[in-house]
């Protein structure tokens, strides 16, 4: 069959550089992106290991030292119950990351699946999915979260209490999980539509490009075309959007906690710390400044990283 002779030739074993390594190379040369990446890594480290490394427990109170100003012992001072603000900010990082990562993963998953179906298979899927997307986007975020929290929180808490009384399993006393579940659920519910729209638009534009027809003419299956041709080409904007979305989710979680519909005290969240700090900021500005500064820093860092990734992941933009 083979009319073209096959002769042994020396070939480099594997690609010495991959798309990702190229991207990393370009990312490294972008100062803002590197700054963003470093901040994100520090925050991630703090989120994972921080609570084990802080000198104080985030809940332990020292009523002798309430509202203390920042000192060597208490880097960010103490709050109105004498709790170490630094430890609380560090634990708040964990809350923020946990919420941001889980919410974004859920939202991206829902958005990508729905967007890809809408874009690839067209009507009637497209019409129905976009209808649901528009409808979700038209509901005011805050209202939806408040409604979900108000309507579901008390029944779930009651159910957990009943379960605890019935089984005496201490798991059911950890209301922190109820908080998280409600926060994750309601935030994911409002966060997916932008991803669905983005992925749909990407898939729609990529689907009509000549290299997709060329791939079909090669006899590749829809699945391979989706995996190797459509998604990698749609990935750049999605990764950028995810990076920015993580920052947004953190801010959103803080906003909800600030308003009292997010994570409830005593679990520290930047949002509820800002909320507490705001009441006394004229007297104890460090209580507001510490969580607000960290929140701002995190948000900016994710933004920079997202922009850097956008440039890095586009091989055509290589300088």
């Amino acid at each position: 069959m083979s009319a073209v002779p096959l002769s042994p030739v020396a070939i480099p074993d594997e690609a010495p550089v991959s798309l990702w390594r190229d991207a990393w190379y370009r990312l490294k040369r972008n100062k803002l992106a590197v700054f963003g990446l470093i901040v994100v890594l520090i925050l991630a480290f703090a989120a994972i290991f921080g609570p084990y490394l802080t000198p104080f427990d985030y809940l332990s109170q020292d009523l002798q030292a309430r509202n203390a100003a920042p000192s060597l012992q208490h880097l960010f001072g103490t709050d109105d119950l004498g709790r170490d603000v630094f430890s609380r900010v560090v634990f708040g990082t964990r809350t923020a990351f946990l919420v941001a990562v889980i919410v974004t993963v859920i939202a991206v998953f829902i958005g990508t699946v729905l967007g890809a179906i809408a874009g690839f298979f067209g009507n009637p899927f497209d019409r129905i999915i976009m209808w649901v997307t528009d409808m979700t986007m038209s509901v005011p975020n805050l209202l939806l979260v408040v409604v979900i929290n108000a309507s579901l929180k008390s029944p779930i808490t009651k159910w957990m209490e009943a379960q605890y009384l019935a089984t005496l399993n201490p798991f059911y006393r950890q209301t922190i999980w109820v908080d998280f579940m409600l926060v994750f659920g309601s935030m994911a519910l409002i966060s997916w539509p932008p991803y669905a729209r983005l992925v749909r638009a990407q898939v729609l534009s990529i689907r009509s490009r000549p290299y997709i027809t060329a791939a079909q003419a090669l006899g590749l299956s829809n699945w391979i075309i989706m995996k190797r041709y459509v998604i990698p080409n749609a990935l750049g904007p999605l990764i950028v959007s995810v990076s920015a979305g993580l920052g947004t989710a953190m801010v959103l979680e803080s906003a909800f906690s600030f308003l009292g519909v997010g994570v409830n005290p005593p679990t520290p969240s930047w949002g509820n710390m800002i909320s507490d700090g705001l009441r006394v900021w004229q007297h104890y500005p460090h209580l507001l400044a510490a969580p607000a500064a960290v929140l701002g820093l995190a948000s900016v860092a994710f933004s920079f990283l997202g922009d850097g990734l956008n440039d890095a992941l586009n091989p055509r933009g290589a300088k």
Binding site: M1, S2, A3, V4, P5, L6, S7, P8, V9, A10, I11, P12, A15, P16, V17, L19, G122, S208, R209, P210, Y211, T213, A214, A215, Q216, A217, L218, G219, L220, S221, I224, R228, Y229, P232, N233, L235, P315, R316
Partner: protein
């Protein structure tokens, strides 16, 4: 033709398209864009498909492979390839043919390669998929293919992204991908249109060379009659979605019979033309898909048109004297009978 047929080639038809009709679902109902096309390609033969923009050349080839966009459908006719009807195959069987037995080279090498995939991987794709090769084997073959299509330093080029190559190089890569599985038929859809003239000649020479080496059939779609003169064995001239003339290449150039073919040939500028002479052209434009004339589609622009041309559609019929010279024109057929 005579020279072309002297080489040992069986006359068995590899591709046989009969009465293929393609319609677009437009706002004003379906519009016919390809109207009952009859085409065939013999084994080892190179067919040139010629016609002006929008006459259905590309649509015909895409419809063979069932690669038409959503609103465009094949409504009538059959296309058999190697004895199997492409229109009736299951999707799975069809995928085996695509890229396996039929290689495709697209018009625009700038956009027909996946921009985020290294060209080595893109060449390996059909080998892994159709031939079940391992990655390492496929890479050996990919280097071989790149060398075959004349890309210098093929080992390093495997690592290149499409944007790192020039247009001519990319088209060579496209051809390498099209040839990867040793197809029986290579369909090249205006493969040189996006390239400059010197590169066009290189690509034509390359395909000529490869055809001799690999013994495959080639369908070369183009609007440039002059370009393919030395490349193809036979030419099918398309006008408004129908074949108006079909003849061996030498015969076509020596004795073009359909008024449209004659117009096309006359509009190629020659060096011997007087410097001040006007370029010859065919007046008017092809009919829009939704507004085809009742009779011969070329009749409104035809200098020879008679009453019957506006009433009935001529069939593609052999003209006397030459066995495989066929023309769809009442006037020519009548003149032949009179002679």
């Amino acid at each position: 033709m005579t020279q072309a047929m002297n080489t040992t080639r069986s006359n068995e038809k590899l591709l046989d398209v009969r009465g293929l009709t393609v319609e677009i679902d437009g706002r004003n109902g379906p519009a016919v864009v390809v109207d009952g096309i009859d085409l065939y390609v013999n084994r080892g033969e190179t067919l040139g498909v010629v016609g002006e923009s929008g006459c259905g050349k590309s649509l015909t080839m895409l419809s063979l492979m069932r690669l038409l966009p959503n609103k465009i459908k094949v409504t009538k006719g059959s296309a058999s390839f190697d004895g199997h009807d492409l229109q009736k195959m299951s999707n799975k069987e069809l995928r085996k043919v695509r890229g396996g037995d039929i290689g495709f080279v697209f018009q625009d090498p700038m956009t027909s390669l996946n921009p985020v995939m290294r060209i080595g991987d893109q060449i390996c794709e059909p080998l892994i998929y159709h031939r079940g090769m391992k990655k390492a084997e496929a890479r050996v073959r990919a280097v071989e293919l790149l060398r075959l299509v004349g890309i210098p330093g093929p080992e390093e080029r495997l690592q290149a992204y499409p944007h790192e190559l020039s247009g001519g190089m990319r088209q060579r890569v496209m051809i390498a991908i099209g040839l990867a599985c040793n197809p029986k038929l290579l369909i090249a859809d205006e493969p040189t249109t996006a390239l400059d003239v010197t590169i066009q000649a290189q690509i034509v020479d390359l395909v000529k060379d490869l055809r001799a080496k690999l013994g495959m059939s080639v369908v070369w779609i183009t609007h440039d009659l002059a370009l393919i003169a030395g490349l193809v064995d036979r030419v099918a001239v398309l006008y408004a979605g129908t074949v108006v003339e079909d003849a061996p290449v030498d015969e076509l150039y020596a004795r073009p019979s359909h008024p449209y073919t004659r117009g096309l040939l006359a509009s190629i500028p020659k060096l011997s033309d007087a410097p001040a002479s006007r370029l010859s052209s065919i007046g008017g434009t092809p009919p829009e898909p939704g507004r085809r004339p009742k009779g011969c589609p070329f009749a409104p622009r035809c200098p020879l048109a008679e009453a019957i041309c506006h009433e009935r559609v001529p069939k593609l019929e052999p003209i006397s004297g030459a066995g495989n010279h066929r023309t769809a024109c009442f006037v020519v057929q009548k003149m032949q009978e009179a002679a």
